[in-house]
Symmetry: C2
Subunit: 265 residues, 2 copies
């Protein structure tokens, strides 16, 4: 066997990982001083395979208790440590991950790819269990709303959130200081299947707690405390005071993150 | 105030309870010497309200890990202990139950009502997560089948289970000794929504592990190991050896129990 030249640590591999998790037992996605996060668990698993992996970058932060079916993150490490086929990466990582976190896909991407900055949009789904009693099987995945909601009125109200608009009225205080609060929603659907109501929200970007504020506001309409026609007025006020409460985190799932075809893999 | 006559303990009240539970943490429905069961938890809660409640009777036994959305049980106790409105019973019982068990409905029924003997049929649902990776959010509620199933062929096979037939080939050994293994299935549907496959089975009665054996057999067809046309032959053999394995319990939910209109409440 011929002698190997020393590995060039500057030659890197970048992977785009798609990650699903049950957020119940985590302090959200992003690494933080206190409490276990999903990012930390995924980095720990990556280090078992690729010891020099750098801090990974997620497409978005999810709050404590929020779930994901399609969180995207990129991970970079020296090519010299990459001794497996890309299609084997999910299986290998899942061996080092707890059952409530799964890497569902891995693709090799150009070094220019950035999970956050290249994202062109996201889909969130919010689930409500609208029945006088909770659903014990879905208790960690749905917001329990015991009083009957008027889904027809919620559907009407949801249409007013569509398009390019200033969503300042639906941003949490934390985002009041940012200048541009204009976002575009492509989809805001309310679907009911028995007591299970699913709200699908798709947009090019989201302010902090924006999805949960939309859901909270739709529920005000569903309870008859606001009319569907109140939504445009509420958006015009540009003041959080006029919107509904934020719906709780455990009903929310980051469903998909969209990239241009080039990066879709 | 006039003196109360002594309560007549022989005058009873009978309640029909509808119960939902996540079976993950229970050794099934029925009380048994070792391990906590759902029946035990419900009886404990009932005793907090109606101290002299008798052993309750469920419409069916569910195995360890099986879930329910609509288990039905009857409970009987002296009328003298019944000091609340029937519509308040679920709320009161749920205060004494863990989060993974909920009483979703209570109705007062005639003393002749029997949750098991008066049942006219049941609906079970079985959920499969058919994706190379598990779904962390539904891991306790779905059977993970990583190899792609042919749903079209499963739908074709499912139709062969319908009608009045001898299901001896799909009974667990325990039921081999019972004489009458003829049952009638009204419905056997295979529905797919992305990677989530739901099998809905409705019948007048079920042999032990019959639902899970049907699901296991449908998966053999989905994997191409049996043809849809093999199902009638398999039923004719009346021998468990020829059917597929029983699918695991955690994908199964007892969805509804049907009674005649008189008892539907």
């Amino acid at each position: 066997m011929s002698e190997q030249p020393p590995a060039d640590e500057s030659v890197k591999v970048k992977l785009k990982l798609t990650i699903a998790y049950d957020g119940t037992n985590y302090k959200g996605w992003q690494i933080q001083p206190s409490g276990m996060t999903v990012q930390q668990r995924v980095e720990e698993a990556l280090r078992r395979l690729f010891p020099s992996v750098e801090r990974i970058q997620g497409s978005s932060r999810t709050d404590t208790g929020v779930h994901a079916m399609g969180m995207v993150a990129h991970a970079e490490f020296p090519k010299s440590e990459y001794r497996m086929k890309t299609r084997k990466v999910p299986l290998a990582l899942n061996a080092f991950l707890p059952e409530d976190i799964r890497v569902v896909d891995a693709k090799q991407v150009p070094s220019s790819f950035h999970a956050r900055f290249d994202s062109q949009g996201k889909q969130y789904q919010y689930k409500i269990w609208n029945h006088h009693s909770t659903n014990p099987m879905l208790r960690g995945l749905t917001w329990h709303v015991p009083v009957k909601l008027n889904v027809k009125r919620m559907k009407m109200a949801a249409q007013h959130f569509l398009g390019r608009q200033d969503f300042r009225s639906l941003a949490a205080n934390r985002d009041y200081t940012i200048e541009n609060t204009t976002r575009t929603l492509f989809r805001c659907d309310v679907q009911a299947s028995g007591p299970l109501i699913t709200i699908v929200i798709e947009g090019d970007g989201f302010l902090y707690k924006m999805c949960r504020s939309i859901v909270g506001t739709l529920c005000l309409v569903g309870h008859g405390k606001k009319a569907p026609e109140d939504i445009p007025k509420l958006l015009q006020k540009k003041d959080r005071e006029f919107a509904g409460m934020s719906a709780p985190p455990h009903g929310l799932t980051l469903q998909k993150v969209y990239y241009s075809n080039f990066h879709r893999g």
